[in-house]
């Protein structure tokens, strides 16, 4: 990667307050988030990495037993072994979605009674953990809090893996839109449900639509949902306000997104799809990081090289394992064929990265991180990735 591209990534962690790592599942978002945070800490910033992944070995390698819903300061002393002396501080936390959403209810419920009714509702647990957007909403809320606290020079957010990059960004507004929609109001308006039968919705008799709907979902579900929404509705205004603030923050100059991907063509297509979505929402994309790119160990021309020639070259080497002629020939053949196997992957990855660059606007820096022979869960590993991205 050219030095000016490295400069772009340095600027990104130096100048922004928030970096959001987005991408499909399994592309190394959590590790990348840790590495971006590490770079900023090396340069003297006070950094918080917020992750959703219980990446315990990663936490362990950073000297933490495990991560929880409160920031933990990581001990960076170990980096002196790899010749790095961070001047700043690196903190990390794992977002516990359920706990975050409980906190939200705690803060926003108008009184104790409503609070208890919500927390004890049978639909609440599911609602709080899995209604489209609630997890992302809780993450956005924690991000907003952390940013407002003014405690951090940089916050790096590792987002939940989603098919749509914008689930995260859209979640707050979608949730607010859903709860203020006519349909919801219609359901949680008390009088609609409290006819003489106890469920006015269905005793009104006039609505064929409602009857049919009741047949579909069962009246009990509708009733349970209406009770839940009645209790939840006083909090909607707060949700909506906060959703707007989070959106302003994420689309503002303080924040940038880094799209993390792998060279796999399908994953790459998903990543450029994210990029398009982010662009149409006017969200700044500060760069792409392509993880697990197979290195090109040999040139293609080597595969035409006669086995005898390779065998002769290895015979000249001073290696402590004695091989006879036929063993050397077999080894030469296998070395060549193994290199050819990896060449296929290196060529495929190089083409994919080239394709990615062609599809992105020219001012978007793309960093590639090679596929390492080991998992990245040691300080040395993290530092290797850091040097690949930042030089």
């Amino acid at each position: 990667m050219s030095s000016e591209r490295r400069e772009d990534f340095l600027e990104l962690v130096r100048q922004r307050d928030i970096v959001v790592c987005a991408g499909s599942g399994g592309v190394g978002k959590t590790t990348t988030s840790a590495v971006l945070g590490l770079q900023a800490a090396v340069e003297g910033q006070r950094v918080l990495v917020m992750t959703i992944d219980p990446a315990r070995r990663l936490a362990n390698s950073l000297g933490a037993e495990s991560l929880d819903n409160e920031p933990t300061q990581l001990d960076l002393e170990g980096f002196s072994e790899v010749g790095v002396r961070p001047d700043g501080e690196l903190w990390a936390m794992m977002l516990d979605m359920k706990a975050s959403f409980d906190d939200l209810v705690e803060q926003r419920a108008p009184d104790e009674e409503t609070r208890q009714k919500i927390l004890n509702n049978r639909l609440y647990e599911y609602f709080s953990t899995s209604l489209a957007g609630t997890q992302e909403y809780a993450a956005a809320e924690r991000l907003y809090e952390a940013h407002s606290s003014g405690d951090w020079d940089l916050i790096v957010l590792d987002t939940p893996p989603t098919t749509h990059a914008l689930d995260f960004l859209e979640a707050p507004s979608r949730l607010a839109n859903a709860v203020e929609s006519k349909a919801f109001q219609w359901i949680y308006e008390k009088e609609l449900f409290q006819g003489e039968s106890g469920l006015g919705l269905f005793s009104m008799g006039s609505s064929y639509v409602l009857k049919t709907l009741g047949k579909f979902t069962g009246t009990e579900l509708l009733q349970e949902l209406s009770v839940f929404l009645q209790h939840f509705s006083p909090m909607f205004q707060g949700f909506r306000d906060r959703a707007r603030q989070v959106r302003d923050l994420l689309t503002g100059p303080e924040c940038t997104f880094v799209v993390v991907t792998s060279p796999d063509p399908h994953t790459r297509e998903e990543s450029t799809h994210f990029y398009d979505e982010l662009g149409s929402e006017r969200v700044a994309v500060g760069g792409f990081i392509v993880n697990r790119v197979h290195p090109r160990w040999v040139d293609q021309s080597e595969f035409d090289r006669p086995v005898e020639d390779i065998a002769a070259a290895i015979a000249d080497l001073d290696v402590d394992v004695e091989l006879d002629d036929s063993e050397r020939t077999q080894l030469a053949e296998r070395l060549r064929s193994n290199a050819a196997s990896f060449y296929v992957l290196a060529r495929k990855d190089a083409r994919s990265v080239e394709q990615l660059r062609a599809e992105l606007s020219r001012d978007i820096p793309v960093a590639t991180v090679p596929f390492f022979s080991q998992d990245i869960h040691s300080l040395t590993g993290l530092d290797r990735v850091r040097r690949e991205i930042f030089g």
Binding site: V179, K215, W297
Partner: protein, 316 residues
């Protein structure tokens, strides 16, 4: 009981471990045994078509191979099918479900989309034809990755704990008892022999037992590098790699590539040992394919390996 005797076979695991490839190959192995098989993707960007060289797979079931059919379920299509089953009449469905207010309302019901998708999988797994015989011998589901996968499979029990009567309750109860029946259903865990995927797979296994009460069918360890060097060659490669010898760039590159392969094999072996220690389900090993992209011959080859390992007796 062999996996091949069960009706509903689901695959989940960490993102990026190759769930779709394994689910597609498994489905092909069922079809090759003569089982009438339906392969389901759940509302994703379709990958299956590229494996079978078929047209893009949408919400209509299409044939991709002998005995093998595929569909990419969308919540909208599933809702229409389900609504039609209950209401029987298209006009009524339109009047009710295509009402804008009703639609917004339905979209806001927590978990409804998930219920519709898992409901459709269950429906096909139990569907019978005019003579009362099963329409499908096997339904294979490429389920979402760990987190979303758990939510999806949990939804029937959530509904059962939230309400206690009504049509939806009865549906949820039927789905739940099918999903938790080890004679009928299996949740298979796909992983790579690497740290984070193995940890996530253990978590998924624990949740499957505790929260979902679902039977685990097998663990598929995907992407294993085949061993190509014998012991003496490995010793030589290690020594040469560490020796930093002066040799031409070509041979030095070949030694680096060989050392890389060896290091990954050693790491994978370490995690295979951990997988064997941690899981009591049958383990199937799938090699890494050094290919430009995954095409039908790769799927065929994986299908054969899965069949050999998961049912060595081999029916048909």
């Amino acid at each position: 009981m062999s996996l091949y005797d069960r009706n509903l076979i689901l695959f989940s695991g960490k993102g990026g471990v190759g769930k779709t490839t394994i689910a597609s190959s498994y489905a092909l192995s069922c079809a090759r045994r003569g089982q009438r098989t339906l392969l389901m993707e759940l509302n994703v960007r379709d990958k299956v078509a590229s494996y079978f060289g078929s047209q893009e797979i949408g919400s209509e079931i299409v044939t991709v191979e002998d005995n093998l059919h595929a569909v990419n379920v969308t919540p909208d299509a599933a809702m229409e099918e389900y609504g039609m089953m209950i209401l029987r009449m298209k006009l009524v469905y339109r009047a009710v479900f295509e009402n804008r207010v009703v639609r917004t309302f339905l979209q806001a019901i927590p978990g409804l989309n998930d219920l519709l998708m898992i409901g459709k999988a269950w429906h096909h797994a139990t569907e019978t034809d005019a003579d009362g015989g099963p329409v499908w011998d096997t339904v294979v589901v490429d389920a979402p990755a760990t987190g979303h996968g758990i939510f999806l499979l949990q939804i029937p029990s959530v509904i059962m704990s939230s309400i206690s009567s009504g049509h939806m309750y009865r549906e949820a109860e039927k789905i739940f008892s099918f999903l938790t029946d080890p004679q009928k259903t299996a949740l298979n865990l796909v992983t790579l022999a690497e740290d984070m995927p193995v940890n996530e797979t253990k978590m998924l296994r624990d949740q499957a037992r505790q929260k979902l009460e679902m039977p685990i069918g097998c663990v598929v360890a995907n992407g294993l590098y085949p061993q190509t060097f014998d012991q003496r060659e490995r010793d030589w490669i290690d020594a040469a790699h560490e020796g930093n010898l002066s040799v031409d760039a070509g041979v030095s590159g070949m030694i680096n590539a060989a050392a890389f392969r060896q290091q990954r094999i050693d790491m994978q072996q370490h995690y295979m040992d951990e997988i064997e220690r941690s899981f009591d389900a049958p383990i199937a090993r799938v090699p890494y394919y050094f290919e430009d992209r995954i095409t039908f011959p790769v799927i065929e080859s994986i299908a054969e390996r899965l069949a050999d390992q998961l049912d060595p007796e081999g029916a048909p």
